[in-house]
Symmetry: C2
């Protein structure tokens, strides 16, 4: 008999995402591994039963202090994994929406005090308490939307001390929510104003001074860089990521978001953990990424939020054999907190099938941020992270725009609804 | 002293949407009429105080059985009004997503049992109890998203008796949630299979048999028609709407969604309450609609949900002087329940400023469905419908993709969160 502190019955379907071996070079698009008329049970924060309701009735006994919940035909998927966020910032750029609709250029907006540097200024000035409070409110909504693990990047300070301060805050965010947070060092998010026309000198600073501290103090799991004209070149990106790799950090790169920048080629050459955005990646890039086993992190809401008519090339990347993952890209430029909404964008705009999108938002996203051992699957012994939706079928989650879960469990605990 | 059963303080901003007179022919884009550091109070379901927090402290006394809530810097807008929904249906079309991504045509999908007729079949077969239960679950989520009033169309039965059955159900949906529901007769949603190549005969049936019953029994506030090649022609649409108008019903038209169909011209000629979609409307159409005072109901998520690269021409319609309203278009083809998400699509894709979008989702949407006297404004004596968001400013609601309210009040009652 299996003892459990939580038993969930009445699930019409559970996607476990456990089928097939993970290829050596990265996760492929896999079957969802559906169980019909399912039940799951957990105990002390870990799955102890995953199977049919009939099996649960035979094998599971709920502790006297435990609870049983009838999901009444709802469907369940692994707690969603958001593989790319800039959630740690102060400030707000809603004023720019009307300006952009009126046709203002980026430089006109910057001249009015807007643009990314406005949030860099706000973040630099914000107290730690204020930054944590703002960020935790976002994380609470993300959690209620079904996210149970996420990556959080630094990048809104752009100074040695400021970036270290942000990285030090990351372990403190989402703590009360029990979310699993993976820190990424993105000191190279943009060229700070203090280094205008001296990007090389800023990369020098990061390589010689900041990265060694980040690595020594274990402040980040990954180092990331924004490779794009006006930001950092392919050469500068490669120099930074090579240094990070030599210090034992994982690597990621923002590549080919606006134009062909050479970032995808750097990603393939270095074998980074993930190349993100990839909107302008060429077919050569896609094949190189596939060969190198680099995971593509797609951010399919961002082109729309950026007022472009481009779309994230999800279909093309999958067809080229690149494992794809998903993220919100939550930032002041694309303020999207809901991973289920990202599933919708992934299907309707990036043209991933619902099964591919769900794979990308769970097991593949976990791989992209180094959480494969804990997150992204409903499997015995794993952290009991589960999102339950009233959506007819697990493939119906993204079909409904921005589906809101009925319940979300994190480490076996029910996340309070808003 | 004003007695209130609810007092809300600590609002950093309230948009009342009350400024300026409503033009005779329809609502114009108006100022949001912001109140900073605001408070609102209601009593027995109606607003009794709308003003500054300082004013409320002087003038409002909360009944001993009442409650006071500190919104802690959140912002408030009128309960959102969804001016166009097909929420009353059975069935589900998520299976088509993967087929569409694979390049299947509409006729290939129909041959596999998909397409609109699959949900017509499911709706015809569904019991009243099942239809109500499914629809109420959707309405509960819509309400939690901030919607307090909505239009609901028939149109998934396409038989005389079946359409009357749907209209009879509409007053029963959302009842426990206290939502204000406006019924629209859309028997002319599509040509039923029983009338293939005999659209005129179907319009005859609706005009001679169904419409008189709808009007006599007061089953609908509006009559609507899908004017598009393959559905109903401009002539057929005009015949139906003229008959409806003669019977005292308000009129609406689905016009110019896929191609130029002549529906917008019919709308202007008849002076309908609203013309909806209008994606392919010409400049001549826009000017004619403006002159006729027809409200355009925009459904900016639908082109994306329909796998087109088109966008709803919000900017163009506003610039032509057409009053615009917003709706979700919730249907099996574009399953979107959240009006805040529609606000995002309205700005990022249809290019309405956040202020225009908020106007379109409140006071203008109320006008589009005949609820101007009750809904869409925060004003003394009106139904206390209010949506409260943690969004920095009221214009920051649509800036955040699919913002989820902190609290929603309907007729002065707190709608339970999911």
């Amino acid at each position: 008999m299996i003892r459990a502190d939580h038993l969930i019955v009445g699930l019409s379907e559970v996607a476990t995402l456990t089928s097939g071996p993970i290829p050596r070079t990265g996760p492929a698009m896999r079957k969802l591994s559906l169980i019909d008329r399912a039940a799951v049970a957990f105990d002390e924060g870990r799955f102890v039963f995953v199977g049919t309701e009939r099996g649960a009735r035979r094998e599971v006994r709920v502790r006297s202090t435990g609870t049983e919940w009838d999901a009444a035909g709802a469907v369940a998927v692994p707690g969603l994994v958001d593989a790319h966020t800039h959630v740690l910032f102060a400030g707000d750029r809603h004023d720019e929406l009307a300006l952009k609709i009126g046709g203002a250029s980026y430089s006109e907006i910057a001249a009015k005090g807007g643009g990314m540097y406005s949030t860099v200024e706000a973040t630099r000035k914000a107290s730690a308490a204020s930054l944590l409070a703002q960020t935790d409110r976002r994380l609470a909504r993300m959690a209620s939307s079904g996210t149970t693990s996420l990556e959080v990047k630094s990048g809104y300070a752009l100074t040695h001390a400021g970036e270290l301060r942000l990285l030090e805050l990351i372990p403190r965010i989402g703590r009360s929510l029990g979310l699993r947070v993976v820190p990424t060092f993105l000191g190279a998010h943009a060229i700070p104003r203090e280094f205008t026309a001296r990007a090389d000198a800023y990369i020098d600073l990061l390589v010689r001074r900041t990265l060694p501290v980040v690595a020594r103090r274990g402040l980040a799991a990954f180092c990331d860089v924004f490779c794009e004209p006006g930001f950092f070149s392919a050469e500068q990106s490669e120099r930074l990521l090579s240094a990070a790799s030599a210090l034992g950090l994982g690597t990621k790169i923002h590549a080919e978001e606006f134009v062909v920048s050479g970032g995808a080629a750097v990603a393939a050459r270095l074998g980074v953990r993930s190349a993100d955005h990839l909107i302008e990646a060429t077919e050569t890039d896609r094949l190189a990424l596939a060969r190198a086993g680099v995971t593509a992190v797609l951010l399919p809401a961002t082109p729309v939020a950026s007022f472009t008519s481009k779309r994230s090339p999800g279909r093309e990347l999958v067809d080229a054999g690149v494992p794809v993952a998903l993220g919100t890209d939550l930032s002041p430029n694309s303020w999207i907190e809901s991973m289920p909404l990202v599933l919708s964008f992934a299907s309707y705009l990036a043209r991933l099938t619902p099964a591919e999108a769900l794979t990308a938002a769970t097991v593949n996203a976990a791989h992209a941020i180094g959480l494969s051992a804990e997150s992204g699957q409903v499997a015995l012994g794993r952290s009991a992270d589960l999102a339950v939706f009233d959506a007819g079928s697990v493939e119906g989650i993204g079909y409904r725009w921005g589906a809101v879960p009925v319940r979300v469990y994190r480490q076996g605990k029910l996340i309070p609804s808003r």
